[in-house]
Symmetry: C2
Subunit: 166 residues, 2 copies
Amino acid sequence: MTAEVFKGRLITVQIDERGREVVQHPAASVIVAVDDQKMVWLVRSSRPVAEGSLVEVPAGMVDPGESPEQAARRELHEECGVQADRWEELASAYSSPGYSDERIHVFLATELRHVGGEEALGEIEGRLQAPMEEALELCSANLQSLAALLLAGRRLAAGGRPSHPG
Amino acid sequence: MTAEVFKGRLITVQIDERGREVVQHPAASVIVAVDDQKMVWLVRSSRPVAEGSLVEVPAGMVDPGESPEQAARRELHEECGVQADRWEELASAYSSPGYSDERIHVFLATELRHVGGEEALGEIEGRLQAPMEEALELCSANLQSLAALLLAGRRLAAGGRPSHPG
């Protein structure tokens, strides 16, 4: 038996049968987009944490009716104005399974084209590109970005082309 | 201006000045403990997610008055009965900064001794050891464990001894 103790616009809090407070939160897609110059596309996002904003890989929630990959394609375009011809899902994992059911889908996007149409600066406060090692430094305060970058680095180092043509 | 809309035992939910629902949650320490045979110590933990339990690296919340490293030492002992002579903090990062202030401290623990005294099975449903590549497979549904394992793998591959004697 679980009991709902808070219901907001985005998150719900339940007390589960073991008495644990559990947050229900929509899934999200996180994208490591690497261009032909091996630069990783990054954003600085407004976040409700002490720093006020963080450098991250592009990411966003999966909307109702969307697949994680559709969300990834939409977010990469909205946040960076970029389309990618090749997509590969590298992981599907819980961000913090001790108290939340939020599931994160990690994608590697390659064969990029900057097509424009990115949203005006707002929640996204800036855009930048960096080589992988520098991206790891820049994203050091976001564990999802770190995990995604490290998974992408392994995948790219393992060689071969991603397996799913776009 | 923020408004508190839910206060539980562990988590608090606020609406921030931008109208975002933000969870406040204690920090946690996550430990990659690697023994002299290069085996990683893992646990199967009861978690409030669809799978019911997940294989993870040892982890737990930082108690009031504890440092993250003290919490890491305590959790590794409680969950695995292991003490480590060498500790290194590899990252301090938000688990899901879009909606939570939970901060994760990632530690690499080496020079392990199994001293016993681990807690009885309960929330911890089992214990196992695995080589790094197998650990990554086993922990594939926990993004914090994946990030910690990948960071530890990089650190170990970079060679040298961890810099903080225990």
